[in-house]
Symmetry: C2
Subunit: 269 residues, 2 copies
């Protein structure tokens, strides 16, 4: 599937949804929003919505931008000294290094809040959109992303099950939001949404494994704690086959998901 859903297309959607007033906190938000992110979560959401529903609705656009706001807030807060204490992000100074810790906390808060404001501008009376909104904020909250960060800080990674649980909670949740919300606003059935969810969990694990391999010097908790690199690559290849088989069970052109699998494993130089 050839698509016009590019990074600059997403950038425009984001810009349209940013507040107008100038403020130090907004500067910090923009700094991190436009710091070279790959935008793969909103792209997955929009591509899924388009594959399922044959078009990109305003609801899908709002959800896609909200998802990128959530992702960006989580990066800002995760980088804080009391969390992962990262001075650099995407080759640039992290938000708190550039603007100070107080502004970074507020920029994260404001982005999470703005993600709500953004979905509230969508077609709230539409049942599929409502279900998608509920799912997105379940995935970003204490049962999703916040739980993932809590596991990362306070949990233990003793075996592949622990590492998988952490990867699904930390990395899988927003990919689940992307695929399931995209599918729902595209008009997928409940059963189809469930299959998209399974695919998303596996994508999250594959993505985290490659991240851990690329990042092997830095990560505290890592798949490399429990498996060797070659075993992990075999595991990703197996999961990729399962993902592709699941895509083939669905009556949609999901070439972009298969490409995502291949591109992910190719990130390993």
């Amino acid at each position: 599937m050839k698509t016009n859903i590019t990074v600059s297309y997403i950038d425009e959607l984001i810009k349209e949804r940013l507040p107008r007033e100038r403020d130090k906190v907004l500067q910090a938000m923009e700094y991190m929003l436009f710091s070279g992110g790959k935008r793969f979560r909103p792209m997955l959401l929009l591509n899924t919505a388009k594959a399922v529903g044959k078009r990109i609705s305003d609801g899908a656009k709002n959800l896609a931008v909200a998802l990128e706001f959530i992702h960006t807030y989580s990066l800002i807060h995760d980088d804080l000294p009391c969390m992962d204490n990262d001075d650099m992000r995407r080759g640039k100074r992290s938000c708190h290094m550039q603007f100070g810790e107080a502004s970074a906390v507020l920029a994260g808060d404001a982005l999470l809040n703005l993600s709500f404001e953004t979905v509230l501008k969508g077609p709230l009376s539409n049942k599929s959109y409502q279900t998608a909104c509920v799912y997105m904020f379940k995935m970003s909250g204490i049962e999703g992303l916040v739980h993932g960060q809590s596991l990362d800080l306070f949990g233990e990674t003793k075996n592949i099950d622990d590492a998988t649980e952490l990867a699904i909670a930390k990395t899988g949740t927003l990919i689940r939001a992307a695929l399931v919300c995209g599918a729902l606003v595209g008009g997928a059935s409940e059963e189809e949404a469930r299959i998209f969810d399974e695919i998303a969990c596996k994508l999250g694990v594959c993505y985290q494994i490659v991240d851990d391999i690329l990042d092997s010097k830095k990560c505290e908790k890592s798949f490399l704690d429990v498996y060797s690199e070659s075993d992990l690559i075999d595991h990703v290849k197996e999961l990729n086959e399962e993902i592709k088989a699941a895509c083939d069970k669905l009556p949609y052109d999901l070439e972009f998901l298969k490409e995502f699998c291949d591109q992910n494993i190719a990130r390993r130089r």
Copy 2:
């Protein structure tokens, strides 16, 4: 107006809306949610909804609980070392002193997210409820509470106008959310909602002035920087009269708002 909207009534509404699973972050959320807050924001919201609409709808309950979640998240983040650096809150150790900074950041994030999950469980297809949700999250975001915290950290208080702007942004915003959202879900007209909003701004200023007087040792930015205590008390009395006159313009029994004015000024021993 005699009402059964008590602290314990609000406590029950909150408990019904908390997630079930046990987690360190949830403990930190509960610690701060049940640390002796006066619950005056949800009480104002529910009393306004009842005065205007003659009943307390499920939508009003969800908004009231969401508002207390927002207020509680803001306290947790405001107390952080990089913000106001408060070790104590309501006579107890602040959240980060009790659970560590990382848990406090996550607990705040989770509460803000939960506020949204809570409003998403309300009657989303109802237009007044939609308008109320939009208003609430406008008041809590970069145009509201976050802006207030930013002004408090980075702004200057040179005169009464600066101090008033800060008070409306920092303290007024969630009182505005309480009154306007309560009025909207109760069925108030746009013009009536506007009057409630004016009342709320003045209530926010009055509340902050009394807080500044009670807190005179601690506050960095304060009304006491620009006016003497006795001038401030006169100012509160004037504003209280204006609030009561505005209440009398509305066709509802707003005795609880007049009582709130009197109780506020009586906080000064």
